[in-house]
Structure formats: C-alpha cells, structure tokens
Amino acid sequence: MPRVALFVTCLVDMFRPTVGFATVKLLEDAGCTVEVPEAQTCCGQPAWNSGDRATAAEIAKQVIFAFEGYDYVVAPSGSCAGTIVKDYPQMLDGAWRKRAEALAAKTHEVTSFLVDVLGVEGVEADVPRLATYHDSCSGLRGLGVKAQPRKLLASAGTTLREMEEAEVCCGFGGTFCVKYPEISDSMVGDKTRNAADTGAEMLLAGDLGCLMNMAGKAQRDGRGLEVRHVVEVLAGMTDTPAIGEGSK
C-alpha cells in the first residue's frame, strides 16, 4: 500500500475542507494509506509569484522537509502541485535542489495521480448529472491534466457538456484578481457565461482558486450554476452545499 502524503493546499484547508476529505476518500478507495503532515501551511506560491524569491525558497524547504519521507505527495490542485513540481527545483540550489527534484518526481495532482500513477479506471460515485469542466491553467499546461478528470467523471456517471474556451484562464491568477480586479472580473464573466451557455447544472474544476472566483461571479450574476471541485463529485460527496452556497 503506497503511503501518500496529502498536501491539502491553503485554500482547501481554509475554505473548502470537504475537498480534502473527498481527496482522502478517493485515495483510500484506491488502496493508499493517507497521512496529512502537520507542518504544512501553503506551497509558497504567493511569495514566488510576487517576486519574493527568498521567502518562497524558505517555504519550499519547509514543504520538502515535511513531505519527502512519503512514497507520494498528492494535492487536490494543479496549481499547488505544479509549484512543487515545476518551481521548487528553480528556487533552490545545491543539495536542496536535489531534494526538491526528488520531491517533484513524486508529487501529483489528484486526478492525474489516480489515473496516470495508480492506473485507476473509474470510481463508483454514481452522480448522474450534467456538468461542464473548466481546465485550470497550471494543471492543464503545467502538468498535462485534461483527460484524467474527464475519464473519472464519465465513470462516475456524470455527463460533460464542453464549454467554449474551456482552456482559457478564468481570471483568478492568485494575486492577479486582487491587483487587477476589473480585468479579472471581465475574464471570469466570459468564463461563467460560457459555462452557463452549455446548459449544464454543475461547473467543475480542479483548483479551488478558480472555483471560488467562478462561483462568486456566477452567483452575483444569478447564473444558477452549482460550482464544485471535481473530487467532490468523484467521491460522491455532492449532498453538501456547493461552493458559496449556504445550507438549504
């Protein structure tokens, strides 16, 4: 049984704990032992993308130290997994770079881990709903996550209706949405319009940043979309309120 460390990501930890539990369920169902290292906070992306290389490197070391003892590291986010996989080796030098590369080699986004590493063919979630899927940038372009969530969703009984420009950024971009809110808003407006135009009930994606952005916009505009992280559907956990929705 592979020993998997869950990198829960700061946004999931704070805003959407159910995504963490859904990830744990999927991993355990696939035969993994899941542990959650205590010393985790955030992957360091805010510092890295703000040009604060020194802080980003310190946090990278902290993550490497906490996670390198496991067989695999899995995150319910292409963005945070991407930071560990693609960026950590660039932040560090010498012996730390070697350790960063070793960690990068065993770190995965969750749907890609299930399909590409464990060879999971499907899940038994039975969520026969109509959904559309937003391909988050880092997962898609950084880690090649495109077919994996679709394959798993099909096995869960969910039908996908693809939106226009599914691969175009939703305008979240970490601090971008705070620094340039007007541009970000226009981008997420395009995104949620495209999603709603498909007529799907659910809008799914694999990154909580994009999801919060899209949920907030869809709700403000009254788009009537249920916005969820893909693992919630795959784990059959769709009876909880959707992102940004109150309990009914």
């Binding site: 704070m14 704990p17 539990f21 906070t41 290389r53 940038c137 970000s184 981008m187 403000r220």
Partner: protein, 475 residues
C-alpha cells in the same frame, strides 16, 4: 523629444477605459477566435511533431545567434557595404531619428512611404519626420487606418485590430474627400479597393521608402520583409532611397536559417503556411537592374538590447514578433493593445517593455498576468514568457517598488506560513470570523480587504472548520 511618452504607468486606468469602450470590445471579440483557430489549424496541418520540431530548431538557431551576435552583425555589415549599401548604428531611439532624418533631408524628401515597421514606432520616426516638415505615409492598410485616426498600433502584426469595420468606413468618408460621397463602401472589398486606390497614388510620390525587417541575413547581407499586401515591395523599390530599420537581434546566419524562421512565423501569426509576400532585398540597384532604389541604408538599432544580453532576459531577444502570444493572451483579449501603453503589447510587451523603458515605468505589465501559460505554449521561439515576467517582479521586489500594501500583506502571510502552529490557530480564527460574516448564506457580497473582488463578485466563505482542525479531531 518626439518619442511617444509611454502611458504604461497608467495601465490600470487604460484598462478601465478599454473595458468600457464598446467598439474596442466588439473588435476584440471578433479577433479572438480567428487568430487562435487559424494557428491551431496551421499547426495541425503541418503535423504537430514537425511544427514543434521547427520551434526547437528556431529556438536553437536564435540562441546561437545571440551567443555570437557581434560576429554576425559585423559579417552582415561587410556584405551590405560590399553591395553598395550603408549601415548606420543607432544606439538609442534618438540616434535612429537623427540618422533617418539626415538621410531624408539629403534625399530632398517631402514624403516618405513606410512599410510596416515596429522599430520605427519604437523610435517615434513618424512624429520626428512630421515635426521636421516631412510627411510620413503608412502603406500597410492597418497602419494607414490608424494613421488616419491619429493612433499608434495596438498589435504588432494587426495594427488596427482594435478598429471595427463601421469605424473604418467613417474614417474613409472623412479622409477621402476627393471621392464622391455617394460611393458604395458597404463591403470589405469596396473598402479595400478604395484604400488600394488611394495608396497606389502615394507610392509614386515619395522620395524615400522606409521598411522594417523581419530578418537580416549575415551570409548574404539581405534583409527580409514579409507582408500580405505587397506594400513592403512597393515602398522599398519605387522610391529613390530605401531605408531599412531593424533592431540588432533580427540577424540570422544564413539564407537557409531564414526559411526555418519563416516556416514558424506565418503559421504562428496568422495561420498561413507563408505570408503572401516575402521579399529579400540587398543593396541599391545595380547597373543591370531594371528597378530598385539608388541608395540603400540600414539603420541598426540597439536601444537597450545589448543590456539584455547575458541577463535573465536574454531569451526575449529570440522574439520574431509573430504576435501569437498576444493573440492567445486572455488579458490582451480583454483590454487590447493600447492599454499596455507603449509599442509592444501583450505578453511579449510585458517582458520587453520594462527592458526598454525601465521597470519603474513598465512595472504594471509583468504584474498584469495570471501566469496562465498560454503565451509560452504558443510562442514559436519557446520563450518562457511567464518566467521572465516573474523575473521582473523579482527585480521590483528587490528594488522595493512593489506597492506597500502588497509587501505588508505578503510579509504578514509569510510570517504565519513559516510557523505552522501559529498559522493553524490564525487560520482557524480568521475562517470562523469569515464564516460568521456569511451568516449561513455561504458567501458575502462585500468584504473590506477584497473590495476589488466583491465589487462584481460574491466571495465564498469557508464551509466549515479548517480541514487541518477537523482532520486532527477525527484521527
């Protein structure tokens, strides 16, 4: 100084206006899928492996050039001189202005025809000539349209992409007063043929023709220009004097190398296998030539580029100005090229502009990116654009140019992020407070520190106690 003052420092204001400009928004919507679809189709038609292989070859080629830049430039100069041409070295934009004006004056020029050249935009040649009593006439249709409108290009290959067809019609009605008012300008073809007619007459009036160069070839001393309208050919072969304006990184070693670049250029830019016209020129007309200019000048511009060599921005000098990065950039697609406030828009501009006008002036551009990575994905020269934008952010951070609030926020976040125990307690408390604000609705419609976000979007609040707390309680 007659250089266009950059409006890059007001990027936010520019973007704000762009978002409210309905004509612009409609033009941008029209352009967006055209470019993206055409490039994808061209790549598929050639075969993705072959296309991507060409990109590797083009990247390696340009890296080799940059490592041996001085040698190739020298060889090129030798060839041009041997063919009877003159090479002028311009260290700054002002130098280029003076060199060009000098040549025009000696030629007794009243009118100068121009094929499309971004370098002349970078150097503010039009304003400088006009200020000195010489009339510059743009011969590229897009450039002609924006010249009528008194604007600068908003895209490096489609300068008038921000203008809608009805706006063009209106502009032509206003400018071409010698034509009957009742003429038919309803279709694209009638607009095009009117522009062609007007421009044809101008071709024969100019004493000097200025063109840009997509490449310079060291082996042969040739300059290469691609157009879809043939205006490059006419503005360089009809006038008595031809001036080529090019920046130093445009050099390639051999003729063969130029074809490698051409094969990725057209496909990346407009989805064409090749542009309609690809013109090689070398030197003035020889005794036996039936036509061509009597004088041939090349102005080689540095304007800060040598300073990029050997730095983390060197790779940017591989850029061949195809425009694919901006065509695919969701930020460019949202605000258009003028918002970037200087000659080079989109992701390439976000890297190049701070290099050329300084990060103090151009700092907004590398920040106004979500790092979605689409630009790097499509760049034929495999320039790691997001990575280089991040380098600019690092320079800003080192120079303490990052805004105070952002630095403070980042510092606070870092303090906690480095102390898991404190972080855990802090996030639990913060999230409980936020949850309370949601009052069972699951979201808030106004949040003090995220006013930009909540102006137009709701903000989801935490759906329960933090994962880490719940996990600890369960296990």
């Amino acid at each position: 100084m007659t250089l266009h003052e950059p409006t890059t420092p007001q990027f936010k204001q520019n973007a704000h206006e762009a978002l409210r400009d309905e004509n612009l928004q409609s033009a941008l919507r029209g352009a967006r899928n055209g470019f993206v679809g055409k490039r994808a189709a061209a790549r598929a038609k050639l075969g993705e492996d072959e296309f991507d292989g060409l990109r590797d070859a083009a990247r390696d080629l340009k890296n080799h050039v940059l490592a041996n830049l001085a040698d190739y430039l020298e060889a090129y100069e030798g060839k041009v001189t041997a063919a009877g041409g003159h090479v002028h070295w311009a260290e700054t934009a002002e130098d280029a202005q003076n060199i060009v004006l000098d040549i025009c004056r000696k030629a007794g020029a009243k009118t100068v025809n121009k094929g499309k050249t971004m370098i002349s935009e970078e150097c503010g040649i039009n304003d400088h000539l006009a200020a000195n009593g010489i009339k510059p006439v743009e011969t590229d249709l897009g450039e002609y349209i924006i010249q009528l409108r008194g604007e600068t290009p908003s895209h490096i290959i489609a300068p008038a992409v921000h203008v809608t067809v009805p706006q063009v019609r209106e502009e032509f009605q206003k400018a071409h007063t010698h034509l009957p008012e009742s003429r038919d300008l309803s279709g694209l073809d009638t607009l095009l043929s009117e522009a062609r007619g007007v421009l044809r007459e101008k071709y024969f009036q100019a004493e000097v023709g200025i063109t840009g160069a997509n490449m310079l070839i060291a082996e042969t001393g040739q300059s290469v220009i691609v157009t879809n309208e043939g205006n490059g050919d006419l503005s360089q072969s009809l006038p008595r004097v031809h001036i080529v304006m090019a920046s130093i990184e445009k050099i390639v070693p051999t003729l063969e190398d130029s074809s490698t670049i051409l094969r990725v250029l057209g496909r990346s830019a407009t989805g064409q296998d090749m542009s309609v016209y690809t013109t090689y020129s070398s030197g003035p007309r020889r005794a036996e030539d039936p036509d061509g200019p009597e004088e041939y000048h090349v102005v080689l511009l540095d304007n800060g580029r040598t300073n990029m060599l050997g730095t983390e921005f060197e790779e940017m000098l591989r850029c061949i100005r195809c425009g694919a990065c901006m065509n695919h950039c969701p930020v460019y697609q949202t605000v258009g090229g003028h918002a970037y406030g200087w000659v080079y828009p989109g992701p390439m501009g976000a890297v190049l502009t701070p290099s050329l006008i300084g990060v103090e002036e151009g700092g907004h551009l590398p920040n106004a990116s979500t790092f979605c990575g689409r630009c790097e994905d499509v760049c034929p020269m495999r320039i790691p654009l997001p990575k280089m934008m991040r380098h600019w952010r690092e320079r800003e951070f080192e120079k303490k140019l990052t805004p105070g609030a952002a630095r403070y926020g980042l510092g606070l976040w870092a303090f906690f992020a480095k102390r898991p125990g404190l972080y855990r307690a802090g996030t639990r408390l913060g999230m409980a407070a936020l949850r309370l604000l949601g009052r069972g609705r699951g979201r808030v419609s106004s949040l003090p520190l995220a006013g930009g976000w909540t102006a137009t979007r709701d903000m989801p609040v935490p759906s329960g106690d933090t994962f880490m707390a719940q996990w600890k309680a369960k296990r």
